[in-house]
Symmetry: C2
Subunit: 130 residues, 2 copies
Protein backbone atom coordinates (compact mmCIF):
# COMPACT_ATOMS: atom_id res chain seq x y z
CA UNK A 1 0.00 0.00 0.00
CA UNK A 2 2.78 2.42 1.00
CA UNK A 3 6.09 2.44 2.77
CA UNK A 4 7.32 3.93 6.05
CA UNK A 5 10.65 5.70 6.32
CA UNK A 6 12.06 4.78 9.72
CA UNK A 7 14.96 7.18 9.21
CA UNK A 8 12.61 10.14 8.75
CA UNK A 9 12.34 12.79 11.45
CA UNK A 10 8.58 12.62 10.98
CA UNK A 11 6.80 10.36 13.46
CA UNK A 12 5.65 7.01 12.08
CA UNK A 13 2.00 7.60 12.94
CA UNK A 14 2.19 10.97 11.12
CA UNK A 15 3.59 9.25 8.04
CA UNK A 16 0.69 6.79 8.15
CA UNK A 17 -1.79 9.65 8.45
CA UNK A 18 -0.23 11.56 5.53
CA UNK A 19 -0.07 8.51 3.29
CA UNK A 20 -3.73 7.68 3.83
CA UNK A 21 -4.69 11.30 3.23
CA UNK A 22 -2.79 11.27 -0.05
CA UNK A 23 -4.54 8.08 -1.16
CA UNK A 24 -7.95 9.49 -0.28
CA UNK A 25 -7.32 12.88 -1.86
CA UNK A 26 -6.00 11.21 -5.00
CA UNK A 27 -9.14 9.10 -5.18
CA UNK A 28 -7.33 5.79 -4.84
CA UNK A 29 -9.39 5.04 -1.75
CA UNK A 30 -13.10 5.66 -2.29
CA UNK A 31 -15.73 6.71 0.27
CA UNK A 32 -17.00 3.85 2.45
CA UNK A 33 -14.16 1.64 1.30
CA UNK A 34 -12.75 -0.58 4.03
CA UNK A 35 -9.13 -0.03 4.99
CA UNK A 36 -6.89 -2.74 6.47
CA UNK A 37 -7.48 -3.51 10.13
CA UNK A 38 -5.21 -2.05 12.79
CA UNK A 39 -3.50 -5.39 13.29
CA UNK A 40 -3.14 -6.20 9.57
CA UNK A 41 -1.70 -2.78 8.80
CA UNK A 42 0.76 -3.19 11.66
CA UNK A 43 1.89 -6.53 10.27
CA UNK A 44 2.21 -5.16 6.75
CA UNK A 45 4.36 -2.22 7.86
CA UNK A 46 6.12 -4.20 10.60
CA UNK A 47 5.31 -1.66 13.26
CA UNK A 48 3.33 -1.73 16.49
CA UNK A 49 -0.50 -1.95 16.34
CA UNK A 50 -0.75 0.89 18.86
CA UNK A 51 1.04 3.17 16.42
CA UNK A 52 -1.47 2.32 13.68
CA UNK A 53 -4.34 2.83 16.07
CA UNK A 54 -3.03 6.28 16.89
CA UNK A 55 -2.89 7.11 13.18
CA UNK A 56 -6.43 5.80 12.58
CA UNK A 57 -7.78 7.80 15.51
CA UNK A 58 -6.08 10.89 14.11
CA UNK A 59 -7.57 10.24 10.66
CA UNK A 60 -10.98 9.86 12.28
CA UNK A 61 -10.53 13.14 14.18
CA UNK A 62 -9.64 14.91 10.93
CA UNK A 63 -12.68 13.50 9.15
CA UNK A 64 -10.98 11.11 6.74
CA UNK A 65 -11.91 7.84 8.47
CA UNK A 66 -14.86 6.51 10.39
CA UNK A 67 -14.66 3.40 12.50
CA UNK A 68 -17.19 0.82 13.60
CA UNK A 69 -16.23 -1.34 16.51
CA UNK A 70 -16.25 -4.98 15.53
CA UNK A 71 -16.44 -4.19 11.82
CA UNK A 72 -13.46 -2.13 10.81
CA UNK A 73 -12.35 1.32 9.66
CA UNK A 74 -13.65 3.00 6.51
CA UNK A 75 -13.02 6.02 4.31
CA UNK A 76 -15.32 8.97 4.99
CA UNK A 77 -17.14 10.88 2.30
CA UNK A 78 -15.37 14.20 1.51
CA UNK A 79 -18.32 16.32 2.63
CA UNK A 80 -17.89 15.00 6.13
CA UNK A 81 -14.29 16.16 6.37
CA UNK A 82 -14.38 17.83 9.77
CA UNK A 83 -12.95 21.22 10.55
CA UNK A 84 -12.54 22.03 6.87
CA UNK A 85 -12.78 25.75 7.42
CA UNK A 86 -9.90 25.86 9.89
CA UNK A 87 -7.89 23.42 7.80
CA UNK A 88 -8.35 25.51 4.66
CA UNK A 89 -7.07 28.54 6.53
CA UNK A 90 -4.00 26.56 7.57
CA UNK A 91 -3.43 25.33 4.03
CA UNK A 92 -3.70 28.81 2.55
CA UNK A 93 -1.07 30.07 4.98
CA UNK A 94 1.13 27.10 4.12
CA UNK A 95 0.60 27.80 0.42
CA UNK A 96 1.65 31.41 0.91
CA UNK A 97 4.88 30.63 2.79
CA UNK A 98 5.78 27.81 0.40
CA UNK A 99 5.43 30.01 -2.66
CA UNK A 100 7.36 32.82 -0.97
CA UNK A 101 10.27 30.55 -0.13
CA UNK A 102 10.29 29.07 -3.63
CA UNK A 103 10.50 32.57 -5.08
CA UNK A 104 13.21 33.48 -2.60
CA UNK A 105 15.25 30.48 -3.71
CA UNK A 106 15.02 31.56 -7.33
CA UNK A 107 11.92 29.83 -8.67
CA UNK A 108 10.21 31.83 -11.40
CA UNK A 109 6.50 32.57 -11.44
CA UNK A 110 6.20 30.55 -14.64
CA UNK A 111 7.81 27.53 -13.02
CA UNK A 112 5.38 27.65 -10.11
CA UNK A 113 2.40 28.06 -12.45
CA UNK A 114 3.64 25.00 -14.30
CA UNK A 115 3.68 23.07 -11.02
CA UNK A 116 0.11 24.16 -10.53
CA UNK A 117 -0.94 22.67 -13.87
CA UNK A 118 0.69 19.36 -12.94
CA UNK A 119 -1.39 18.90 -9.81
CA UNK A 120 -4.45 17.70 -11.64
CA UNK A 121 -6.18 20.95 -10.95
CA UNK A 122 -7.07 21.43 -14.59
CA UNK A 123 -8.62 17.99 -14.73
CA UNK A 124 -10.32 18.77 -11.47
CA UNK A 125 -11.91 15.37 -11.07
CA UNK A 126 -10.95 11.89 -10.09
CA UNK A 127 -10.73 9.32 -12.86
CA UNK A 128 -13.56 6.85 -12.50
CA UNK A 129 -11.90 4.15 -14.58
CA UNK A 130 -9.69 1.76 -12.59
Amino acid sequence: MFQIDLKSRKAIYEQVVDNFKELIIAGVLKPDEKVPSVRDMAKELTINPNTIQKAYRELENRGYFYSVSGLGSFVSVPAEAAGSSHRIKELKELFRSTVNELVFLGCSKEEILKLMEETGLSKGKVDEND
Copy 2:
Protein backbone atom coordinates in the same frame (compact mmCIF):
# COMPACT_ATOMS: atom_id res chain seq x y z
CA MET B 1 10.32 41.46 16.45
CA PHE B 2 7.95 38.49 16.66
CA GLN B 3 6.10 36.41 19.19
CA ILE B 4 6.41 32.82 20.39
CA ASP B 5 3.36 30.65 20.95
CA LEU B 6 4.14 28.52 23.99
CA LYS B 7 0.91 26.58 23.49
CA SER B 8 1.90 25.55 19.98
CA ARG B 9 2.82 21.94 19.29
CA LYS B 10 5.75 23.27 17.27
CA ALA B 11 9.05 23.43 19.19
CA ILE B 12 10.10 26.91 20.31
CA TYR B 13 13.41 26.81 18.46
CA GLU B 14 11.54 25.81 15.29
CA GLN B 15 9.22 28.78 15.69
CA VAL B 16 12.25 31.04 16.01
CA VAL B 17 13.77 29.51 12.87
CA ASP B 18 10.55 29.91 10.89
CA ASN B 19 9.99 33.49 12.01
CA PHE B 20 13.49 34.55 11.00
CA LYS B 21 13.12 32.78 7.66
CA GLU B 22 9.89 34.68 7.03
CA LEU B 23 11.55 37.99 7.86
CA ILE B 24 14.48 37.26 5.56
CA ILE B 25 12.35 35.96 2.70
CA ALA B 26 10.06 38.97 2.99
CA GLY B 27 13.09 41.26 2.81
CA VAL B 28 12.55 42.80 6.22
CA LEU B 29 15.99 41.60 7.24
CA LYS B 30 18.63 42.46 4.64
CA PRO B 31 21.84 40.57 3.83
CA ASP B 32 24.71 41.24 6.27
CA GLU B 33 22.31 42.85 8.70
CA LYS B 34 23.06 42.08 12.34
CA VAL B 35 20.43 40.15 14.27
CA PRO B 36 19.99 40.38 18.06
CA SER B 37 22.53 38.45 20.12
CA VAL B 38 21.65 35.06 21.54
CA ARG B 39 21.28 36.55 25.02
CA ASP B 40 19.27 39.61 23.93
CA MET B 41 16.89 37.52 21.86
CA ALA B 42 16.41 35.18 24.82
CA LYS B 43 15.56 38.12 27.07
CA GLU B 44 13.16 39.60 24.52
CA LEU B 45 11.25 36.35 24.09
CA THR B 46 11.66 35.31 27.74
CA ILE B 47 13.07 31.93 26.85
CA ASN B 48 16.37 30.17 27.49
CA PRO B 49 19.50 31.37 25.62
CA ASN B 50 20.33 27.76 24.72
CA THR B 51 17.06 27.53 22.81
CA ILE B 52 17.95 30.62 20.79
CA GLN B 53 21.42 29.29 20.14
CA LYS B 54 19.92 26.09 18.78
CA ALA B 55 17.70 28.14 16.45
CA TYR B 56 20.64 30.28 15.27
CA ARG B 57 22.77 27.19 14.62
CA GLU B 58 19.90 25.72 12.61
CA LEU B 59 19.53 28.94 10.61
CA GLU B 60 23.27 28.86 9.92
CA ASN B 61 23.05 25.22 8.78
CA ARG B 62 20.25 26.13 6.40
CA GLY B 63 22.21 29.05 4.96
CA TYR B 64 20.17 31.93 6.32
CA PHE B 65 22.59 33.11 9.01
CA TYR B 66 26.32 33.35 9.40
CA SER B 67 27.98 33.87 12.75
CA VAL B 68 31.26 35.41 13.83
CA SER B 69 32.46 34.57 17.31
CA GLY B 70 32.82 37.72 19.37
CA LEU B 71 30.95 39.85 16.83
CA GLY B 72 27.47 38.47 16.40
CA SER B 73 25.14 36.71 13.98
CA PHE B 74 24.20 38.12 10.58
CA VAL B 75 21.84 37.52 7.68
CA SER B 76 23.39 35.65 4.76
CA VAL B 77 23.07 36.75 1.17
CA PRO B 78 20.40 34.68 -0.66
CA ALA B 79 22.88 33.16 -3.10
CA GLU B 80 24.62 31.46 -0.21
CA ALA B 81 21.47 29.66 0.88
CA ALA B 82 22.85 26.14 1.29
CA GLY B 83 21.24 22.99 0.00
CA SER B 84 18.86 24.99 -2.17
CA SER B 85 18.43 22.21 -4.68
CA HIS B 86 17.23 19.71 -2.13
CA ARG B 87 15.09 22.31 -0.40
CA ILE B 88 13.42 23.33 -3.66
CA LYS B 89 12.56 19.70 -4.29
CA GLU B 90 10.97 19.51 -0.84
CA LEU B 91 9.03 22.73 -1.39
CA LYS B 92 7.68 21.60 -4.75
CA GLU B 93 6.41 18.39 -3.19
CA LEU B 94 4.85 20.41 -0.38
CA PHE B 95 3.29 22.75 -2.94
CA ARG B 96 1.78 19.81 -4.77
CA SER B 97 0.21 18.17 -1.70
CA THR B 98 -1.05 21.51 -0.38
CA VAL B 99 -2.81 22.37 -3.63
CA ASN B 100 -4.24 18.86 -3.90
CA GLU B 101 -5.71 19.05 -0.41
CA LEU B 102 -7.11 22.52 -1.03
CA VAL B 103 -8.85 21.24 -4.14
CA PHE B 104 -10.09 18.18 -2.26
CA LEU B 105 -11.63 20.46 0.37
CA GLY B 106 -13.45 22.42 -2.30
CA CYS B 107 -11.13 25.28 -3.21
CA SER B 108 -11.56 26.44 -6.79
CA LYS B 109 -8.73 26.99 -9.22
CA GLU B 110 -9.56 30.67 -9.34
CA GLU B 111 -9.33 30.96 -5.58
CA ILE B 112 -5.88 29.35 -5.53
CA LEU B 113 -4.67 31.52 -8.40
CA LYS B 114 -5.85 34.53 -6.44
CA LEU B 115 -3.79 33.34 -3.46
CA MET B 116 -0.82 33.16 -5.79
CA GLU B 117 -1.24 36.79 -6.79
CA GLU B 118 -1.31 37.83 -3.16
CA THR B 119 2.10 36.34 -2.41
CA GLY B 120 5.42 38.12 -2.63
CA LEU B 121 5.77 37.50 -6.33
CA SER B 122 5.64 41.21 -6.88
CA LYS B 123 6.26 42.56 -3.43
CA GLY B 124 6.95 41.35 0.09
CA LYS B 125 4.82 41.47 3.18
CA VAL B 126 5.01 39.75 6.57
CA ASP B 127 2.06 38.07 8.15
CA GLU B 128 1.13 36.16 11.27
CA ASN B 129 1.05 32.41 11.38
CA ASP B 130 0.46 29.63 13.92
